[in-house]
Every structure is written in structure tokens, then in C-alpha cells.
């Protein structure tokens, strides 16, 4: 397991080549930036003041050369670094996504994973760029110090201590500004979130005529963000003002000192110009170094979050045992016990349609959890063809057992890909599963039929349409053991009847089908019903037999 430090510095070690190419170029760029004011001074010294054409032309040529190095240095240096940043953030993103699809002991919200896969991945990879700029700033400040010291030691000391102090003074208020900015951005994010949320709930809002109440709520949130934005802008204003006055005063000090020295003949005119220019230039790399500290802190925090997420425990649903050949794929619970099930026995063999009625949702959740592996039994066992599900090899489990969650939803694509994502079904089978799931109506409801576009999660379809497509998809997989949870809750009685018939007709395929439901239509279609009350199996019998019990009738027919 990697440490958070390895996550943080991984981008540097993995991209050593790109960084080795990029960093010297970035250094070259910043040194040349520092040379521009120096060369302007030199040109004034050797050309403008003297009126000599030769030296003037030479120094102009030097300026052109400096600009060439500056320009290409940045262009290629930044491009190398950017490539490393992009490669890294992509790599981290995929790693996060890979972790997010694993079953976890303690599942995170989708939003948290998204922010890890985007914001945090980006922040950690930016370390590559921070590295390049840190090296460049340090080298440039050092080189400037050497130049200044060779020109005039007093001035060099004043500038080398003065610039960091002026930058430091402006940085004093920057935490305040940063805090306010953060608060403002949170307020704006709240407004944006609220707006999107209200529009997403537009129909329910209209349903109760709450447009004005909703508008009022948005207005209140917008006003709060507005106040926060103005306060933040004001603090930005103060910071700009502070920077202006501090750097202006420092410039005055340097101009006075350097001017006096020049008058005493200690400095040439060109050196005077160069020193003034460098004083202004130096603020940039020094401010950059200040900002880099904050960025490094942000990258570290992101690396810590990534570490926690990537190291979070996952449920390992894999074991050494393979399914024996030639043994019927029979699903069996033997005295299975969890917090909401007590010693449940249940058998569902090939060609059988078995229904389970639970009086409490928790029992149904627990039963589904036992089957999909997210719940471990406290006692007893779940087996397929005699092999315990917990020691079954993942490949065999996946090839044999399909547990369809109640909230299952089609992926983005078309109606066809929602049923047959790999496009492997032949037309006859497709027709068959559509018939069995009453999916033909869904296809017919759209003019473009099977090619009708489906949005992610099926949000462009009704609940009943989604459930029918999910059912069609499950039937198309045709697993030896199929487990369905409340597959028809959003489907009308007429269509439900078709589905019940459809499920029965699929039984010729040797599928063992287990349906957790309280729909009388589906229960009536089942070979027998396992009736669970308060976590215990009360009775196993066909629906019409159980219906003689008034308590059962009340549970399924209320």
C-alpha cells in the first residue's frame, strides 16, 4: 500500500524524463525575463547615451536573442511540464474510478468520488509544474543577487531583503483574502447548486404551486452570495492598494539610493536603469515562491484525501473454489442468519420461479445483500451448486449469478444498448426478451424505436420504462441464476401481467429465478412463495394456497 507521500511525489518520479527536459527550459525563460530590464539599461548605457551606433545595434541584437530564448524556453518548458501534469491527472483519475466501482465496506457518495477524480487528481499532478517553477524562481533570485552584489553591495542588500519584505507585507493580508474568497466561492457554489436543484425539481414545484417560494429561497441565497462577493472584492481592492503602495514606496527608496550612487559616479546610468527594472521584476519570482507554498499545501491535502480513499477497505468477492461441472446450478440458503434474517432456508433450482415476500424492507435488503455479497451471514450459508458463495471464484460467480438491484438503471446510449450493451443478441432473442419484459411497448413509445437515445441512468425514461429495460437486459444476460428485487413497482397492472407471463415463459431455459416482491401478479406466477415474517420463514407454498391466510392477504393485497 502506498503512503500519502508516495502519492504526492509519484508524479515527480514517474515523469522524471519530462521534468528533466522541462525544468532547465523554464529556468532559462525566467533568467531571460530578468535579463530584459538589464539589457534595456545596457542599451541606454552603451548606445543611447553615447550615440554610438555599433554598440547600440549589438545590444539590440542581444535583446532579440534574449527574447528568442525567453519565448522558446517557456513554450517548450511549459509544454513538457503540462504534458506531465495531464498524464498524471489522467492516471490518478482512472485509479480513483477503478477504486470507486469496487464494492466498499463503507460506500462513499458519488459526489465525493467525483471530486477525488477531478479536483484532487488535478491538484496532486500540479506538483510537477510547481516543481519547475520553484526551481526557476530560486535560480533567478540567486542570479539576480549575484548581479546586484557585483554592482553595489549596499544596494544588493537593500533589494534582497527589501523585496521579500514588501512581498511579505502583502502576503500578510493574503490569508484574509483567501479565506474570504473561499467563503465567497462556497456561497456562489451554493447559489449555483440551489438553482440547479430547483430547476431539477421544477415539476414537483409546479405541482404544488411553490414557484414563488422557490424563487424567494433562491433570492435569499443569491443575496447572501452577493454580499459575500462584494466583501471579497473589497478585500481584493485592499490587497491591490497595499501592493501598490508598498511596492511604490520601495521603488522610491531604491530610486533614491541608486540615484544618489549614480550621482556620486558609483553607478552608470545603465546600471541605474537595470537596478530599478530588476527591483520591479524580482517581485514576480518572490511572489510566485510565496504562492507555491500555498499550492504545495493544497497538493499535500489532496494527496492525503486520495490516500485515504484508495486505501479504504473493499469487499473482496473472490475465492478459490470453482463450480463443479454437471451439477445443477441450484441456489440455496441454509439456515442463513443476519441482523434481520433468522435461519432462513430457501431453495431455487433450474427452471424454477420462486418468489419471496418479506414483511419488512430490512429483511429484503438483507436477503439481496447475502446474494450479492455485500452482507456476510452471521450464521448458515448461501451456496450455488453446493459451493459456498464466499469461497466461489469471482469469474464463476459472475458467470452464474445475476443479482439485479432495485434501483438498477440503464446506461447512457440507446434502448438497444440498454438491453444489449455489447450488441451480441440476435434479433430473435432480442424479440423474445422484449416480449417477456413487456419492452415492446417501450420501443413503440418512441418514434426512433430501438435507436431512441437513453440518457445516463435512464433519466429520460419513466420509472416503468426503466424497470422494463432493466428486466429485458437481465433476461438477455440469461444467467443460470437470476435474482430480481421488486422489478415491477413502477409498472401498471396490465403490463405487470404480461411480465408475469413472460417470466414464466423464460423458465424453459433452465434459469433459476428468484423474485423478491409483494406484487400479487408476480406471486401468482411463481411456482411457490417463501413467506418471511419478522426475519423468519413462516411458510413455503404457492400463492393461491398462502392467500387463505388473512395475514398474508393483508401483506400482499392491501
Amino acid at each position: 500500500m502506498r503512503t500519502s507521500r508516495q502519492i504526492l511525489f509519484g508524479p515527480l518520479t514517474r515523469n522524471a524524463g519530462l521534468i528533466a527536459c522541462g525544468t532547465p527550459l523554464i529556468v532559462l525563460w525566467q533568467l531571460c525575463e530578468a535579463l530584459v530590464p538589464v539589457m534595456i539599461g545596457v542599451t541606454i548605457d552603451v548606445g543611447v547615451e553615447t550615440g554610438d551606433l555599433g554598440p547600440f545595434l549589438l545590444s539590440c541584437l542581444a535583446i532579440a536573442v534574449i527574447f528568442t530564448f525567453l519565448s522558446y524556453g517557456y513554450r517548450f518548458g511549459a509544454t513538457f511540464m503540462n504534458r506531465a501534469v495531464q498524464l498524471e491527472s489522467h492516471r490518478i483519475r482512472l485509479e480513483v474510478a477503478g477504486q470507486a466501482v469496487l464494492p466498499a465496506d463503507d460506500p462513499k457518495l458519488a459526489g465525493e468520488w467525483l471530486s477525488l477524480a477531478t479536483a484532487d487528481a488535478d491538484k496532486v499532478s500540479l506538483l510537477v509544474r510547481q516543481f519547475g517553477f520553484t526551481v526557476a524562481s530560486v535560480v533567478t533570485v540567486g542570479a539576480t543577487a549575484v548581479y546586484l552584489a557585483r554592482t553595489d553591495v549596499t544596494l544588493a542588500l537593500v533589494i534582497l531583503f527589501g523585496v521579500p519584505i514588501t512581498v511579505g507585507i502583502t502576503q500578510l493580508v493574503s490569508p484574509v483574502v483567501a479565506r474570504r474568497t473561499e467563503r465567497e466561492q462556497a456561497a456562489i457554489a451554493r447559489v449555483a447548486g440551489l438553482g440547479g436543484d430547483l430547476v431539477a425539481g421544477l415539476r414537483p414545484i409546479k405541482g404544488i404551486g411553490a414557484e414563488d417560494a422557490a424563487s424567494g429561497r433562491y433570492r435569499a441565497s443569491s443575496r447572501a452570495a452577493r454580499a459575500s462577493s462584494i466583501v471579497t472584492a473589497r478585500s481584493w481592492g485592499y490587497m491591490t492598494g497595499l501592493t501598490t503602495v508598498v511596492s511604490g514606496l520601495f521603488l522610491a527608496v531604491v530610486a533614491w539610493l541608486a540615484g544618489s550612487k549614480a550621482m556620486e559616479g558609483d553607478l552608470t546610468l545603465g546600471e541605474l536603469v537595470a537596478i530599478v527594472g530588476l527591483t520591479q521584476f524580482l517581485a514576480e519570482p518572490i511572489a510566485l515562491l510565496g504562492a507555491l507554498t500555498a499550492q504545495f499545501a493544497a497538493s499535500t491535502a489532496s494527496a492525503r484525501r486520495l490516500h485515504t480513499a484508495l486505501a479504504s477497505p473493499v469487499l473482496i468477492l473472490d475465492g478459490p473454489d470453482r463450480l463443479p461441472a454437471g451439477v445443477p446450478r441450484e441456489l440455496r440458503l441454509r439456515r442463513a442468519t443476519t441482523s434481520s434474517l433468522t435461519e432462513v432456508d430457501l431453495t431455487c433450482g433450474p427452471g424454477q420461479l420462486v418468489a419471496v415476500v418479506c414483511d419488512r424492507p430490512a429483511s429484503a435488503d438483507s436477503l439481496i445483500g447475502l446474494l450479492d455479497g455485500s452482507v456476510r451471514p452471521d450464521g448458515g450459508a448461501v451456496t450455488i451448486a453446493g459451493v459456498d458463495l464466499r469461497s466461489l471464484a469471482a469469474a464463476d460467480r459472475r458467470a452464474t449469478l445475476l443479482v439485479v438491484p432495485h434501483e438498477a438503471s440503464p446506461p447512457e446510449g440507446t434502448i438497444r444498448t440498454a438491453i444489449d450493451p455489447d450488441g451480441t443478441l440476435d434479433p430473435a432473442t432480442l424479440d423474445e426478451v422484449l416480449t417477456a419484459s413487456a419492452g415492446h411497448d417501450v420501443v413503440a413509445a418512441h418514434p426512433d424505436g430501438l435507436d431512441h437515445a437513453v440518457r445516463s441512468g435512464g433519466s429520460s425514461l419513466s420509472g416503468g420504462q426503466r424497470q422494463r429495460l432493466t428486466l429485458a437486459r437481465s433476461l438477455a444476460v440469461a444467467p443460470p441464476v437470476l435474482v430480481l428485487r421488486d422489478p415491477t413497482t413502477a409498472i401498471d397492472a396490465v403490463t405487470e401481467q404480461q411480465i408475469a407471463t413472460g417470466l414464466q415463459s423464460r423458465l424453459g431455459r433452465d434459469t433459476a429465478t428468484l423474485v423478491v416482491t409483494t406484487s400479487p401478479t408476480l406471486l401468482a406466477a411463481a411456482d411457490h412463495v417463501v413467506w418471511i415474517r419478522e426475519g423468519r420463514v413462516v411458510r413455503v407454498a404457492p400463492h393461491h394456497v398462502l392467500q387463505e391466510d388473512p395475514r398474508y392477504r393483508e401483506e400482499v393485497l392491501r
Binding site: T43, I208, L272, V273, P411, R455, G464
Partner: protein, 585 residues
């Protein structure tokens, strides 16, 4: 961000002229701050050009061989300019915010208000995609630009204008030399603009696809696991992320080449200004100090010019977003107030026919009366027209033919506020609003106190689970909040109806999304809220039909049977067949 279908564009876009007029009108509401902002920007610009000039003067005095006393005036000038510039800069940024941010806030509030009041029929047809894009992306684009691009643009433009003025003030020939750098910058911009639009757009689309791929995998991880689709889902993330990465690299390269062209313009400009200085000093037209000041001026222009040229795109796209916001904000304001409908709450549909898409009728001559206090259940297969009847009965859609009456008044003659005050609709579309449970409920009754909210929860059987939450009504729900089951979410929707207390209720499969155990609780809740009201219930579970006063069976857009449950079962028609199949009797 989803590439949206142009046919789904539902809201108008204002012309540039109308947008400008709207903004000017709103800025005029705060004339003092706007004037202060302008003055402060001008002062900042003026203060900014003092230092190079003063340094030029120092160079001249040094060259003239003066003593350090001669430095007093130029050094003092730098000090004063720093002080004035600081105050002006602080005032400029603050006043600009004070002038622009309230205008934007009003604008976004108006946009949301108009969006919420859009005609329901239009919305049903067009969907909410475009509204979402305006309220989300467009507001964000403009807000971001006000935070960074606009202040930077104004500061840079001021600096450029004043520095150019300063160059000309030194000597008109030096000014002209500086002006010779302009073509270089223009060339760079003209190279960049036609390239930047497409590459940025492509990058944004690719990032949108990547976000979409990530989100659909992360949100639907359980489904993906169940169907063993991890590999294709991750493959899709990989594909979109690689695509976004390659486009980001391409965009960056375009930006770098643009930067190189700007560097070229800078180099040419510096050399031209120095050359002009060289010639003019040699001809004794200007002093060495003036030539120095000119070079320093030009050097100081690098950052502002870069700033303007780099924010050009942001400002352009903010402008486009503004026209889209103005288009919505300029929609007519709704000023309809709810009036009271006195007469007994009778709902009538007379000869109602409807086509969502012209040419494909979904209802034919439906006549349906729901007597005051009666509970009518509508039953039928999908596509029979049940939801359309519900939408028309609720006044959410205007029928293509025929009319609807509430308490004897034609719905198309009542204002929508009146209709909405009297008819509550709960559909199977479950939405939990992000915020507290209290906020979710009080949408229906902003004035209601906790007692009223808890009483409403009691009616729908939700009081117990709400009060058992550690934070009770203050529990945060919705995205990033406490997860509710769909049954609980729907209980909240039903509790809102209790709080609204309308005479008419339309439930369109309001209990459909919950799992089977939850559905029973919801049905109890639903039967509680329709008690004593005129109710039309689109039922998917036949128990709802059984407990209704009357059952209406629909098929292919027509009413084919109606009567009480017992009557229909006794008749042995379509409903009877359904019932027997369903109940197993």
C-alpha cells in the same frame, strides 16, 4: 455538460443591443458607485504613469551631474503616486464590484424567477435542459468573469491607455514608435482568435463528456457491478479522459504559440522604442531620461497587454452568456395572483383531446367529472393516456381540444397561480431538494412552523422516522446529504400537499417508485391526503383502484369502462379480468 439538442432550445436569447440596454438600465440604478468606479480607474491609470517618468527625470539629473538634493522631487513624485494609486486601486476594485455584482445578482434572480414561472405545457414538451444550462453554466460563466476577467480587463485597459498617453506626453515621436508595436499584437490576436474558439469549445465538450462518463459510472456503480460492466465503464472513462487530455494539450500548445507571437511583438516594440530614443537623443530632440522613461513605459506594458489579450476569450464567452441570461430576464413578468374559487370543488373534463406532438393524438374526447370530495382512480396500460389526463386535469397542460373546469370555471380563463393554489399534483418524479427537511417541506407553506410541519409528516406517516433522526427537521438531505429511500422522498412530497391544503389533488402514480414494502406505506399516506378532497389518482396498483369511489379504465386515449370497483368486477369486463389476474381470485 451535455451537447444539447437545438430543438430543445426553449428560451429566447436577447440581441446584443437589448442586453446592453438592460445592463445600462440596471447600472443607472446605482449612479454614484458607477461614477466612483470610473473616477477611481482613471486615477489609477494616471498614478501608474508617474514612476517611469520620475525615473527618467532621475536619469536626466544624474546625467546633468546634479547632487542628491535634485532627487527629492522625482522621488517624492513616486511616493505620492504610490499613495494616490493605492487608494484609487482599492476604491476602483471595490466600487466596480459594488456596481456590477448587484446587477448580476438581480439578473440571476430574475432568470431563475422567470424560469420557475415558465408555462408548464412548454416545459413538459421541451424538458428542462435549456433552463438548467442558463441557470447553471451561464450564471457561472458571468460570475467567474466578474471575479477575474472584468477587473483585469479594465485595469489593463486603463494602464494601456494611460501608458500610451504617457509615451506621447514624453514626445510624440516616442509615442509613434510605441504605436508601431500595435500591428505585432494585432497579428498575434488575429492568429489566435479563429483558433482559440474551436479548440476551447472542443476541450469544454470533451471535459463535459469526461464528467458525464465519470458521473454515470460513479452514480450507478451498483448496477455496473451487478451486470459486471466495470471494464466497459472504466474503458469509457479512459477514452473520454484521454480525449480530454489530448485536447487540453492541444489547447495549451495553441496558447503557447500565441504567447510566442506576443513575445515577438514585445521584442519588436522594445527595439523600436529604444531605436527611436537612440535617434532622438542623437538629434538632441529628447533627453536620455525621456528615452529611458519611454523604454520603461513600454516594458511595463507587457503584463497589461498580455492580460487583455489572454482574457479576451473569457470576456467573449461571458458576453454570450449574458445575452442568454438577458433573454430570460426580459421575459414578461408574471403578475398573477391567486383568486378564491368559491363553488364546491368539482373537476370536469369536457370532450378533451390532446396531442403532445402534432399529428399523434393521445387522448380522444375524454369526458370525466370528479364530484366534490370524490376519489376517482384511473387504470390502464402504459400509453393509454393516464398521465396526459392527469396533466390536463391538473392544469399543467392545455388540451388541444375540449375544456377543463374547476368549480365550474374554465381553467384556461383562470390565472396559473389560481390553478396551482387549488390543485396539487404529485407525480412519480421524486425529487429531494438539497437542504434541510424543513426547507423541503416549507416550500409548500413558507410560513408554517415546526408544529405544522410535524403534523403534516404525521398525516403521511413520516413523523416517526423524521423525529428519530438526530437532527430531526434540520437533517440535511438531497445531494451530499442524508440519503432518503424513494418512499421517504415521496412521503415528503405528499406532506407538502398536506401543508398546501388544496381542494383538488391529482396523484400520478405517486406511489410507484418505491419498493414493494415502502409502497404500502405510501399508499396509506396517499389515501390520507386525498381524504376530503376532490381527487384524481392514476393508479398502478389495483388496491388504489379498489379503495377509490369510482374507477375509470382507459385504453388508447379513451375511457372504456367506469364505475365502482364492485360494479366493474361484477360486469366482467376489462377491469374484472385485470382484477382477477392481480388478486388471484
Amino acid at each position: 455538460m451535455r451537447a444539447h439538442d437545438p430543438q430543445r432550445e426553449l428560451l429566447p436569447i436577447a440581441s446584443g443591443r437589448d442586453t446592453a440596454r438592460l445592463l445600462v438600465r440596471r447600472f443607472r440604478r446605482r449612479p454614484a458607485v458607477a461614477a466612483l468606479a470610473i473616477t477611481a480607474f482613471l486615477l489609477t491609470g494616471a498614478a501608474g504613469i508617474v514612476a517611469p517618468r520620475a525615473l527618467g527625470a532621475i536619469v536626466d539629473r544624474v546625467q546633468a551631474g546634479g547632487d542628491s538634493g535634485d532627487l527629492t522631487v522625482p522621488v517624492l513624485a513616486i511616493v505620492v503616486a504610490a499613495a494616490v494609486g493605492a487608494v484609487a486601486a482599492a476604491a476602483a476594485v471595490a466600487a466596480l464590484a459594488q456596481a456590477t455584482i448587484p446587477v448580476l445578482a438581480d439578473l440571476r434572480e430574475d432568470v431563475l424567477d422567470r424560469s420557475l414561472h415558465l408555462d408548464s405545457g412548454q416545459l413538459e414538451k421541451a424538458g428542462t435542459g435549456d433552463v438548467m444550462a442558463r441557470v447553471g453554466d451561464d450564471v457561472r460563466t458571468v460570475t467567474d468573469s466578474l471575479d477575474e476577467a472584468v477587473p483585469l480587463l479594465l485595469t489593463s485597459l486603463t494602464a494601456i491607455v494611460f501608458t500610451a498617453g504617457g509615451l506621447f506626453a514624453l514626445d510624440w515621436r516616442l509615442g509613434l514608435a510605441g504605436a508601431l508595436a500595435v500591428p505585432g499584437y494585432v497579428t498575434a490576436l488575429r492568429w489566435y482568435l479563429p483558433r482559440s474558439g474551436p479548440v476551447y469549445r472542443a476541450e469544454r465538450v470533451a471535459q463535459g463528456e469526461r464528467a458525464e462518463a465519470l458521473m454515470s459510472t460513479l452514480e450507478h456503480a451498483p448496477t455496473i457491478r451487478a451486470f459486471a460492466r466495470e471494464a466497459p465503464a472504466l474503458g469509457e472513462i479512459d477514452r473520454t479522459s484521454v480525449n480530454a487530455r489530448e485536447l487540453a494539450l492541444r489547447t495549451f500548445w495553441v496558447l503557447m504559440r500565441y504567447g510566442a507571437r506576443m513575445n515577438r511583438a514585445e521584442a519588436i516594440g522594445v527595439v523600436i522604442v529604444l531605436t527611436a530614443g537612440f535617434v532622438l537623443v542623437r538629434e538632441d530632440v529628447v533627453t536620455v531620461g525621456a528615452a529611458t522613461a519611454a523604454a520603461l513605459y513600454f516594458h511595463r506594458l507587457f503584463n497589461p497587454i498580455g492580460g487583455v489579450l489572454f482574457v479576451f476569450d473569457d470576456v467573449q464567452s461571458a458576453g454570450a452568456s449574458l445575452t442568454r441570461l438577458a433573454g430570460v430576464a426580459l421575459l414578461p413578468e408574471h403578475d398573477d395572483r391567486a383568486e378564491a374559487l368559491g363553488a364546491p370543488a368539482r373537476l370536469e373534463l369536457r370532450g378533451v383531446g390532446h396531442e403532445w406532438e402534432p399529428g399523434t393524438p393521445v387522448l380522444h374526447g375524454v369526458d370525466l367529472v370528479v364530484e366534490p370530495g370524490e376519489r376517482v382512480a384511473v387504470v390502464g396500460a402504459s400509453g393509454a393516456g393516464k398521465s396526459t389526463v392527469a396533466a390536463i386535469a391538473a392544469g399543467l397542460a392545455s388540451p388541444t381540444s375540449g375544456r377543463t373546469f374547476l368549480s365550474g370555471r374554465a381553467v384556461d380563463e383562470l390565472g396559473s397561480a389560481t390553478v396551482r393554489r387549488h390543485v396539487a399534483v404529485v407525480s412519480q418524479e421524486v425529487h429531494v431538494f438539497t437542504g434541510s427537511l424543513r426547507e423541503n417541506l416549507s416550500l409548500a407553506a413558507p410560513q408554517a412552523d415546526d408544529e405544522a410541519l410535524l403534523a403534516a409528516l404525521e398525516v403521511v406517516g413520516a413523523r416517526r422516522w423524521v423525529t428519530s433522526l438526530p437532527e430531526g427537521l434540520d437533517t440535511r438531505v438531497g445531494s451530499f446529504g442524508h440519503a432518503l429511500t424513494s418512499a421517504q422522498a415521496q412521503q415528503l412530497a405528499l406532506a407538502r400537499v398536506v401543508l398546501l391544503d388544496p381542494p383538488y389533488v391529482v396523484l400520478d402514480e405517486a406511489t410507484a417508485e418505491a419498493g414493494s414494502s415502502g409502497a404500502r406505506d405510501l399508499e396509506v399516506a396517499a389515501s390520507q391526503i386525498v381524504r376530503g378532497r376532490t381527487a384524481l389518482v392514476v393508479a398502478h396498483r389495483l388496491t388504489q383502484a379498489q379503495s377509490a369511489d369510482r374507477v375509470v379504465v382507459m385504453d388508447h386515449g379513451r375511457i372504456v369502462e367506469q364505475g365502482t370497483h364492485d360494479e366493474l368486477v361484477a360486469t366482467g369486463g376489462r377491469y374484472a379480468t385485470l382484477w382477477h389476474a392481480w388478486s388471484g381470485t
